[in-house]
Symmetry: C2
Subunit: 447 residues, 2 copies
């Protein structure tokens, strides 16, 4: 079934804001009979393809008590199948001059190879094989569990900023699984076993839960033919469960936390607000929040930088961050690193005063126009990269968005007004929806 028409690629960056369709990619999508979605993004400038399989299953889909199993399974998919030895897939990709990897997030797990376009058939053959035919040994489980635990040790346990961020997240989310780290809680990772991995694999690794994204030097017809041959023969999982995510209750109390660690040389204040994400057909609020993050803390001419670093000299760094793509409510984050001699309390008070002033005075139209131009450029540059463009569609489609949403997005960003941004700030930057964290040296905590 053809779900979206092939859209024409047109020249852009020509002075005025381009209409939505003209900056869209040559995107074709269809669904195989077993339910597997396919997205093809043509780009014939170089004889390269990016081949990705995205599963609508990430850490937030894990069973309770098994945090980390989505990422654990990602590691295990590089082990043997019925017909491949452990490591054979990656070795084959490398022999063919390509690169491959995989990644896990809250809402998805994805596998990819970037190779010369005439190797696409081989990539599909191998990727389709490990969708259902991985054969794990107890030794694989023990070895890879050690690897992910070591990964957590290196990335989180030995990194006070990462530990701080975990505690912030766990405190921000009162009821949603986004409060649990993607890599897993250590005490749960240590219990992950063969059955945990296979149960997640059997449940979620099926064509009707997967999205094939191919970008680069390939035609939709060629992708369809290969996809039907390799992926189309895999039966759907009739027992695929719906994605049940628990929603947040009202956030009624401003929360704070203090994380003290002897390894911290530079203390700072971090603030996270619960914030809406892009929803299918309803991306306006998220677009305004993207602009808000840029206006507040997106660079050297942003509001917080001007106010807190240059004018008041309270901070050596300020930032504002908003990740618009996720299946469920996400966060809007601020950070302020105080200048020497400025306490965390003083820095936080300056930040709050600056936010209040911003809401009062509104957006500088000239600054907004600069940001609009930058965003337009970055949306266009993104298309130059077969990797980035494929990731964009994969993330969006595993996060509840459609191709139409992805294609409408650049123009939506352009249409955000000064008033939309202030309204978004008023709606989201509310103390009772937030966690404020102090990261500081351990000595500063008394007891």
């Amino acid at each position: 079934m053809l779900r979206a028409l092939c859209l024409s690629l047109a020249g852009v960056l020509s002075g005025t804001v381009a209409p939505a369709q003209s900056i869209n990619d040559a995107v074709t999508s269809f669904t195989l009979e077993n339910g597997m979605d396919v997205v093809v993004i043509e780009d014939h400038r170089a004889p390269v393809v990016q081949h990705m399989v995205w599963y609508r299953a990430g850490s937030a889909d894990e069973p309770k008590g098994s945090s980390g199993v989505a990422h654990f399974l990602e590691h295990l998919l590089f082990k043997a199948t019925d017909t491949m030895k452990a490591g054979e897939l990656s070795a084959t990709v490398a022999e063919n001059g390509g690169t491959d990897n995989a990644f896990t997030s809250y809402d998805y797990t994805a596998y990819f190879q970037r190779v010369a376009s005439d190797r696409l058939d081989l990539m599909m053959k191998m990727e389709a094989d490990r969708m259902r035919n991985v054969r794990l040994t107890e030794r694989d489980i023990v070895t890879e569990r050690r690897v992910i635990i070591e990964e957590r040790n290196q990335r989180v346990e030995n990194n006070p900023r990462a530990l701080f961020s975990e505690q912030m997240n766990a405190t921000l989310y009162l009821n949603h699984r986004y409060g649990v780290p993607i890599i897993g809680w250590m005490h749960e990772m240590e219990t992950l076993d063969m059955e945990d991995a296979l149960s997640f694999y059997r449940t979620y690794y099926a064509p009707n839960n997967a999205i094939l994204v191919v970008s680069g030097d390939v035609t939709p017809d060629a992708v369809r033919e290969m996809a039907e041959r390799h992926y189309g023969v895999i039966p759907a999982n009739p027992d695929l469960p719906p994605r049940l995510r628990t929603e947040e209750p009202p956030h009624r109390a401003a929360r704070r936390l203090t994380f003290a660690d002897p390894r911290i040389a530079q203390p700072y204040v971090s603030r996270s607000y619960i914030a809406p994400e892009r929803d299918a057909g309803d991306q306006d609020k998220a677009a305004a929040l993207v602009l808000l993050a840029e206006v507040l803390g997106g660079g050297t001419t942003s509001f917080l930088t001007e106010k807190l670093q240059f004018d008041d000299q309270k901070a050596v760094y300020t930032g504002a961050f908003y990740g618009s793509v996720s299946l469920d409510d996400t966060s809007f984050d601020l950070v302020i690193v105080p200048a020497p001699g400025v306490s965390l309390e003083e820095a936080e008070a300056s930040l709050d005063a600056a936010l209040a002033e911003f809401i009062e005075t509104g957006v500088d139209p000239e600054q907004l126009q600069r940001i609009r131009t930058q965003l337009k450029a970055s949306q266009i540059y993104l298309r130059d990269n077969v990797d980035a463009v494929a990731r964009q569609y994969g993330r969006a489609l595993t996060s509840g968005l459609t191709i139409a949403d992805v294609q409408a997005w650049p123009e939506l960003l352009q249409s955000v007004t000064e008033e939309d941004i202030v309204e978004a700030a008023r709606a989201v930057l509310r103390p009772e929806h937030s966690v404020t964290g102090y990261l500081m040296q351990a000595e500063a905590i008394s007891q």
Copy 2:
């Protein structure tokens, strides 16, 4: 199968500390062939029995996204069965001069009737009937959902202290279901339907997940004969799942929250620390925490009262609370209500200074001796009440404890030393394991 011997009832309260077995009740326990546990506590002083059925299923056993279903089902168990009309059970109890009710907590749901002892057979007949034969209509679902929502409105939504307490709990627990309120989050309660209720009912309401507790004027032989006839004929649920509870990751960051509500006339500071609970065969730490709560905030001669209310005059009320019985880690809670003119910050600082002083100076031996005597008395008085004694066993057995643990408890409490209490304070009263909450009037929050 006889699991515990009948223990002799002996006279107590005679000057010195009584040995453990002598203050135990006449408790008999056995298990029916279908796996239903039975506990009989004889007390022939009055011709009354308390009949309770406890299910090892509470709100912390609910499926994700269905918070409140344990309590919802508790309401629905008063509807019709194959042979009883809706409300008939309670009406029959009332006609027979008894009382009945039910309650739901994190770890259990329990149903009980208190009646003349010759009515026990009738109670068992009706209770056994609704263990498997409830017949719900869509109208029952709609009506009772409205009732529980109204219950939440009255008890929580209209009560800022209850809302505050919910946000405190949700912030204290980073990974455990105890962070979700027993009554449920409103947005999830609104979605509870027939299938949610029946799924919970079919899974957990089975003899192999139930404990029958009968206290009062009855013999174990009589209970066994009746229980086999009424409950013994119900088949076990072969698919009863293990009680999977997610455990907390390390608490590394002191958390704080501010809840502001225009309805608050008297602001106060609340502090909760994550704390160990009584584990089977391992109740020493919990016993020390019970004493710690008493020593710190148990009455007019407690440490915090003396220090903060009388000496420093910073507070009009202080309290310390510890609920020792739960399946998983529980909390140790402190509260301080500041005296007029004392800010919440000042009250909190005084509380922290008092705790530090307590850990430094230790426990007053005279005060501890008074508390020991009070505890001994209260443990003995508890036995005078067929309701309280039956609840004690039901709660303990649904929370992972054994009859032996219940019987060892009074003497364990007596054996706690001054050093044990200070050590428990050092281990538990750690900022990074805590949430501190300010409940205040809405005006005080700035934006």
